[in-house]
């Protein structure tokens, strides 16, 4: 009966499709393959990865897990499973929690090549820094002309009427720079002279002053900030004349803008956070050799010195700096950051964030 | 021979109550009654599309209760004919052809019902009378042990009805099988049947 034949043919087709696909995508346990979890915006291109593979014979797959928090969350949830070998992008605002969760194993990297700044938050073999950058406020010099609107000298300036609804910050729970800046404010206001106010008061005042809070850096910078590249993008609102970003963001603007930008990094002592990003070897992975080869490659002179154009951050190695082209280095600022211990952050971040949630409601 | 013993069936109200009927081989019985008197229900119970609440259906002494409709060998021509709209005349009739038979039989029966050149016609392009004959041909080619007809001519004009009913009678008689013909028209009943049974 031809209907029986038809059924047989369908079944054979289905089985062959399934088996073909299962073969292609079956898990790969050989040591010549590294599975890396990183954040979305990690800038290592496919070409660089291919170069690495050609040199070393190790193939690499990178899973994009959102932002730094996503990387940590993924690492914790897959702890000990060996699903991922390396985690790239956990920063020093999360490192305390990561170390607490026991998700790393030691790397053999030689840390004498790193700058002191890179090792300032953590100097150990469980997390190797590969880049850093300070998170601070950037302002639009078109608005902050020094006459009608003076350059802020303290964060309290932002609670004044001329800044009403004109500063954009990011939600510390959903954004990595937002979280970094927030932690800086905790520290900044703990040094307050009168000791009468703390970060909660400032944030409450900012809420009353209509601070714009977005879930991600892109929305704040691209849509709200008047001094950035967003003014040429679709859906631009441009109501914020200052934004939380990186102190070298004006440099990136200049780099793309042929040495021209109106954006300036605001250098107020302690009102910035030195965000250091790490690469770590996850516990549960057996690929110690390949992992170390990759990490050494990432922090090698050849690759790491290019971090300012690969990942748009400062290189971690000693002597590394932002390139000078197109005013990139000139427009970038190295501020005096806040100073907070990673284990302090780990112990308190939950209650700090809760208080922030309440202050901003 | 078909034997219905004490068939009862109700939906919300009683439709059939202790109904008894016997139909001999080579006998055409007309079932006459107004709408809602249970005629169609009885046919559906006989061919197995529905189950009676109580009573038995016996065919040549065999109790049909456990036998599913596709195995009973009883054919039915529905009121709306139920011709498969996606198949043409030939394919519709072929559907009724038992598996080992020759496809020549299809042309034979088309001839028999007077539709010799209609094999490739689409169902949608048939007139009322032509559709009726295709439906009958399809049921007959399956060589049923018994045939049931549920007011198949009701949608036709009275002129055609009369002539068709005589043809139908001739074809059924030629097969020597028991038949039940449901209608609400007493004149057709008189023309078609050997015996009339009234339902109320």
């Amino acid at each position: 009966m031809y209907d029986k034949k038809a059924i047989m043919i369908c079944l054979i087709m289905i089985c062959s499709i399934l088996s073909g696909c299962i073969e292609d995508r079956s898990s790969d346990i050989n040591d010549k393959h590294l599975s890396i979890v990183s954040y979305d915006a990690f800038g290592i291109s496919q070409e660089l990865i291919d170069e690495f593979t050609n040199e070393t014979g190790i193939s690499v797959t990178i899973t994009r897990a959102g932002d730094a928090g996503g990387v940590l969350s993924t690492a914790i949830q897959t702890k000990g499973s060996g699903l991922f070998d390396l985690a790239i992008g956990i920063d020093n605002s999360y490192l305390g929690t990561a170390l607490d969760a026991n998700i790393f194993q030691p790397l053999e990297t030689d840390r004498s090549t790193f700058s002191s700044r890179a090792l300032s938050s953590y100097n150990g073999n469980l997390a190797i820094p590969f880049d850093f950058g300070s998170v601070c406020i950037n302002y639009d010099s078109n608005y902050v002309d020094g006459e009608d609107v003076k350059i802020p000298t303290s964060l309290w300036n932002f609670t004044e009427s001329q800044w009403e609804g004109k500063l954009a910050v990011q939600n510390p729970r959903t954004s990595s720079p937002g979280r970094a800046f927030f932690i800086a404010t905790v520290d900044y206001f703990s040094e307050d002279e009168n000791n009468q106010t703390n970060y909660e008061d400032w944030w409450k005042a900012m809420n009353e002053n209509d601070v714009i809070v977005t879930d991600g850096w892109t929305t704040a910078y691209e849509i709200h900030y008047s001094g950035g590249y967003g003014q040429w993008s679709g859906g631009f609102i441009g109501d914020a004349h200052a934004v939380v970003s990186y102190c070298h963001s004006p440099g990136v603007e200049a780099y793309y803008g042929e040495n021209w930008t109106t954006s300036v990094a605001l250098n107020i002592d302690g009102a910035s956070f030195s965000q250091i990003e790490y690469v770590s070897f996850l516990s549960g992975s057996q690929k110690s050799t390949s992992a170390n080869i990759f990490v050494n490659w990432l922090v090698s002179e050849e690759i790491n010195s290019q971090m300012s154009t690969i990942n748009w951050m400062y290189p971690a190695i000693e002597g590394g700096n932002i390139i000078e082209d197109s005013g990139y280095r000139w427009h970038s600022v190295i501020p005096i950051d806040s100073n907070i211990d990673i284990s302090d952050i780990n112990s308190n971040i939950s209650s700090w964030l809760d208080k922030w949630d309440t202050a901003m409601a | 021979m078909l034997s219905c013993k004490d068939i009862s069936k109700s939906y919300d109200d009683l439709v059939l109550s202790n109904f008894n009927l016997e139909v001999e081989d080579n006998e055409i019985v007309a079932l006459l009654g107004s709408s809602g008197s249970g005629k169609s229900t009885l046919l559906r119970i006989i061919c197995g599309l529905e189950k009676a609440d109580s009573g038995k259906i016996l065919f040549n002494g065999v109790d049909l209760e456990e036998i599913p409709p596709d195995k009973r060998g009883i054919g039915m021509v529905f009121q709306n004919l139920a011709l498969f709209p996606h198949l043409n005349v030939y394919e519709n009739i072929k559907f009724g052809l038992p598996s080992k038979s020759s496809t020549n039989k299809i042309y034979e029966i088309l001839n028999l019902v007077g539709l010799k050149d209609f094999a490739t016609r689409k169902i949608q392009n048939l007139s009322g009378g032509e559709s009726q004959r295709v439906a009958l041909a399809r049921s007959l080619i399956a060589q049923p042990k018994m045939i049931l007809l549920d007011e198949p001519l009701s949608s036709l004009d009275s002129g055609i009805k009369e002539s068709l009913s005589l043809e139908v009678r001739k074809m059924i008689k030629s097969l020597s099988i028991p038949a039940i013909y449901v209608t609400h028209d007493p004149q057709i009943a008189e023309k078609m049947a050997d015996r009339i049974v009234y339902l109320d």
């Binding site: 499709i17 959102g66 959903t174 859906g235 793309y256 042929e258 939950s350 | 409709p69 060998g73």
Partner: protein, 552 residues
């Protein structure tokens, strides 16, 4: 019948089990009760105004969709137009468009608006854009539900009405004839428009990124929710638990109402082949209205396509192919558009292979139950629609928390995204096949049985053959939805090695856009997705049986 029961139970387990696991996980980390969390929504930043914004968007979108959709359905249905089928296709294709593309299309329209007007946009303008986007997307529902009845209603009813005192003016006919007939269809479709606007994810995330609805809130918290590290996951878990509860209850209610209303619809009884419609040309007022609506439908898509050929150079936009080169050269994402596309197509095909048979048998079961036990049939119907009630993000979270976080090894499985796609497409298969089954002449299968055909033979040669047009339509619907699926995939795939084209586009859009090439690259990838979806849909439309009961 036993096999049927087994199928229903399996489906319910398939849908509920990861959710229950997820629920359990969330609950174990949470401290406050759901009620406390909900009442405290406005006291915490993460959820402030989320409830009111979600309802606001849903209600305004529904009203606006009715406002522009009803006249459209009326004009399409009551008059004869040249290229009628093409018109119908144009107005219903938005529904299968990937939401992320819709967002990109409207954003690029906003772009043009500010270039032409010389002004920047504002939060308010973005809000209006969101409402327009929802209406654009959901018009199809109104058309699908109302137009078939309007166009196939037997003319003799209206003609009789005209000659009677209650119907001798247009107004009276509306009040006494049309509204009583149409209101179940209108209300049922409005309930669905409400549901889709309520659970809108990509559109809200990208068009009004400064405001959060419940879906966005849940997606935001998905990073930490359910994780066994209470200091990080307590607040997020509470929020997800509370938000999903509110969402589930609201949507279940809306779906129940919609289901009940659909069963009241008298569509099939009033339709016939005897309908005469007046022919109208495009040069009339009605024609002008239709043309404006066509422009409305086409413009976001046209805008998206044109933007893929433009790139920002200093302060102006110039024509360039760089976006296309980049999208397929893959220098900006780990996979290039080609790989993601193959991946998406693979998942879509697999989804069809699974959801068609499952959907068919579910529809068949409901259909058979309607005759013997209608109440149970309605309950089963709602159960089948349950994944839609859960919204894409919730399904994704269910997979994430229920499967991935309890059994991380599963993350290696290529079929993980399939689960979400299956959940979200099978309800649509049922929604297409069920009315088609209802419209089948029941005697056909009976006749086949009496001719000796076995169950399999009846199934293959009668049932499936007659349902072929609906099966083709539902396949294309499944393919399109799977291809464009964003919400569940966004939540789930970020933790796996696999990606689909919409997720890849979302990634590109989320990156810092200093590099001018990112936007056109995303638009180029989006254009490919758009073209495939369009081609698929239009080529299949001719299989759709006319007046098929108007569901999808």
């Amino acid at each position: 019948m036993k096999a049927r029961f087994l199928l229903i139970i399996s489906w319910v387990i398939l849908v509920l089990w990861p959710l229950l696991l997820a629920w359990n996980q969330l609950d174990s980390v949470s401290e406050r009760s759901i009620f406390d969390t909900i009442s405290g929504f406005n006291e915490k930043f993460q959820t402030k105004n989320a409830l009111s914004y979600t309802f606001l968007v849903a209600i305004v979108s529904t009203i606006f969709t009715l406002f522009i959709g009803l006249p459209l359905a009326w004009n399409l249905g009551r008059y004869n137009w040249k290229y009628h089928n093409l018109l119908r296709s144009i107005f219903t294709v938005p529904f299968v468009m990937p939401t992320i593309l819709v967002a990109m299309g409207f954003l690029s329209l906003l772009d043009w608006a500010s270039i032409l007007s010389g002004n920047n946009t504002s939060e308010r303008a973005r809000f209006y854009t969101l409402i327009f986007a929802h209406a654009w997307f959901n018009l199809a529902l109104l058309i699908r539900f109302c137009e078939p009845l309007l166009s196939t209603i037997d003319s003799s009813y209206e003609e009789a009405c005209r000659l009677l005192p209650s119907g001798n003016t247009q107004f009276r006919r509306f009040r006494n004839f049309w509204i009583p007939i149409m209101w179940p269809n209108i209300a049922a479709s409005s309930a669905l428009v409400f549901v889709f606007s309520f659970t809108s994810f990509a559109l809200v995330k990208f068009i009004t990124p400064s405001r959060r609805n419940l879906e966005v809130v849940m997606a935001n918290q998905s990073e930490w929710a359910g994780l066994p590290v209470p200091s990080l996951s307590r607040a997020p878990s509470e929020i997800v638990l509370a938000s999903s509860t509110v969402q589930l209850i609201t949507i279940l209610l809306a779906l129940l109402i919609s289901s009940w209303l659909q069963s009241k619809s008298s569509g099939h009884h009033l339709s016939s082949l005897k309908h005469r419609r007046k022919s109208v040309s495009f040069k009339s007022i009605r024609g002008l209205y239709l043309i404006i609506m066509i422009v409305f439908i086409i413009s976001p898509m046209a805008s998206l396509v044109t933007s893929s050929f433009m790139i920002r150079e200093n302060t102006s936009m110039v024509f360039s192919l760089q976006g296309w080169e980049s999208a397929f050269g893959g220098s900006h994402s780990p996979t290039n558009a080609y790989e993601s596309l193959i991946s998406s197509i693979f998942y879509a095909l697999m989804t069809i292979m699974l959801s068609l048979p499952i959907g068919f048998f579910l529809a068949d079961t409901i259909f058979n139950l309607e005759k013997t036990n209608p109440k149970f049939a309605t309950i089963l119907d709602v159960f089948v629609m349950l994944p839609l009630a859960l919204s894409a993000v919730m399904v994704g979270l269910g997979v994430l928390l229920g499967l991935l976080r309890t059994e991380p090894e599963i993350a290696r499985s290529w079929w993980i995204p399939l689960y979400g796609h299956l959940m979200l497409t099978t309800p649509f298969v049922v929604r297409v096949l069920l009315p088609a089954m209802r419209n089948l002449n029941p005697h056909l299968e009976e006749a086949a049985a009496l001719l000796g055909a076995s169950y399999i033979r009846r199934l293959l040669f009668i049932r499936l053959s007659l349902l072929k047009p609906s099966i083709i339509v539902s396949s294309s619907l499944v393919f399109a939805i799977s291809l464009g699926e964003f919400g569940a995939s966004w939540v789930v795939l970020r933790f796996t090695e696999y990606t689909t084209l919409p997720v890849m586009i979302g990634d590109l859009l989320s990156r810092p856009g200093y590099d001018p090439i990112l936007r056109p690259a995303a638009n180029a990838a989006g254009t490919i997705l758009l073209l495939i979806t369009l081609t698929l849909f239009i080529s299949v439309e001719r299989f759709r049986p006319i007046g098929s009961g108007g569901e999808f």
